[in-house]
């Protein structure tokens, strides 16, 4: 947390970028890109998250401890999703004896 007061211009620019990304994500949903539709939607959402966290939530001006705490939440979410999906995705890969 820094003690500088953030200029309104930064907030307005950030808001503008978020609205543009919202329109982009809606537009992208109507294109037929196969599996890339999902990847693109998530990339846009992650970008929006980064913008909100950096500028509205002031992570940009925060210390290392703050970056660690914010990163830890994402890392653990990543573990939750990776291990869960690792199971479901790989279930069909090996033949299993029928009971």
């Amino acid at each position: 947390m820094s003690d500088e007061i953030i200029s309104p211009r930064i907030y307005f620019k950030n808001f503008g970028a978020l609205i543009v990304l919202l329109l982009l994500t809606i537009g992208a949903a109507y294109l037929d890109l196969g599996p890339l539709n999902f990847v693109l939607a998530m990339l846009i959402s992650l970008t929006k998250t980064a913008l909100i966290a950096l500028f509205f939530m002031h992570i940009r001006w925060g210390g290392k401890m703050l970056h660690l705490a914010a990163g830890a939440g994402l890392l653990w979410l990543g573990i939750l999703l990776a291990l869960t999906l690792g199971d479901y995705i790989s279930r069909g890969w090996l033949p299993v004896a029928q009971h």
Binding site: L18, I26, Y30, M57, A69, L77, L81, T84
Partner: protein
């Protein structure tokens, strides 16, 4: 150190900067637990979508993309007014702070009203899981699972918005009563972190639920 910070500084801290970073860190750790709270529902979504993609797209097609887009825009606007509310409190602009906190609460309430209409529409379309559920298309049971996830996740999110709206109103009253002044802006900063987090959750809910079957 001026007298204003003197009364604000808790005795366990050496200086106000240390207290501020402890406040912020505490809130971010709470937000990390919130990420895990919603994470379970997102993991459920991931497994379901991976296992039954086509039922999933068909079910998602029943959600109103326009309403979801307006929901998103309203929440993004509320994040902007929230950021300015924190700024106004820091600058000691009392009436501006109250106005901006009020506008943020109105945006939050507006979101809940739009969502209420969506829920009502889904109820009349028999898309609410349970006895009256009816789905025209293949695999109604799995489609019902999509709507379970949808109502659970958006319901939990709406509850967070409701708590946020109540929080904004309480803060506006505290600013009015001068219980929160520029020296105590941290209370509003922390509430702002919560508000922006709720916005971030919706940033993922919108493409995952509304846009998945948009085509």
């Amino acid at each position: 150190m001026d007298s204003a910070t003197d009364t604000v500084l808790a005795e366990q801290f050496d200086e106000i900067e240390q207290q501020h970073s402890a406040d912020t860190l505490g809130m971010w750790i709470f937000l990390a637990t919130e990420v895990m709270f919603f994470g379970g529902l997102f993991a459920g979504y991931a497994v379901y979508r991976f296992s039954f993609p086509h039922v999933f797209y068909a079910a998602s097609h029943h959600l109103d993309v326009l309403a979801g887009a307006i929901d998103t825009a309203v929440l993004l606007c509320s994040s902007l007014t929230m950021a300015f509310a924190v700024r106004a409190v820091r600058l000691g602009q009392r009436w501006m702070s109250i106005l901006l906190l009020g506008v943020t609460a109105v945006f939050g309430a507006g979101f809940l009203v739009i969502h209420g209409f969506e829920y009502h529409h889904e109820w009349t379309e028999h898309l609410v899981p349970g006895g009256s559920f009816a789905f025209e298309g293949a695999d109604p049971h799995r489609a019902q699972m999509f709507f379970w996830l949808y109502f659970a996740t958006t319901g939990l999110h709406s509850l967070h918005v409701l708590i946020g709206v109540a929080l904004m109103l309480v803060l506006a009253v505290l600013v009015l009563l001068e219980k929160i002044t520029a020296a105590r802006f941290m209370t509003v900063e922390i509430a702002g972190l919560y508000w922006h987090f709720v916005d971030v959750v919706w940033v993922f809910l919108f493409p995952l639920y509304y846009l998945a079957g948009a085509r």
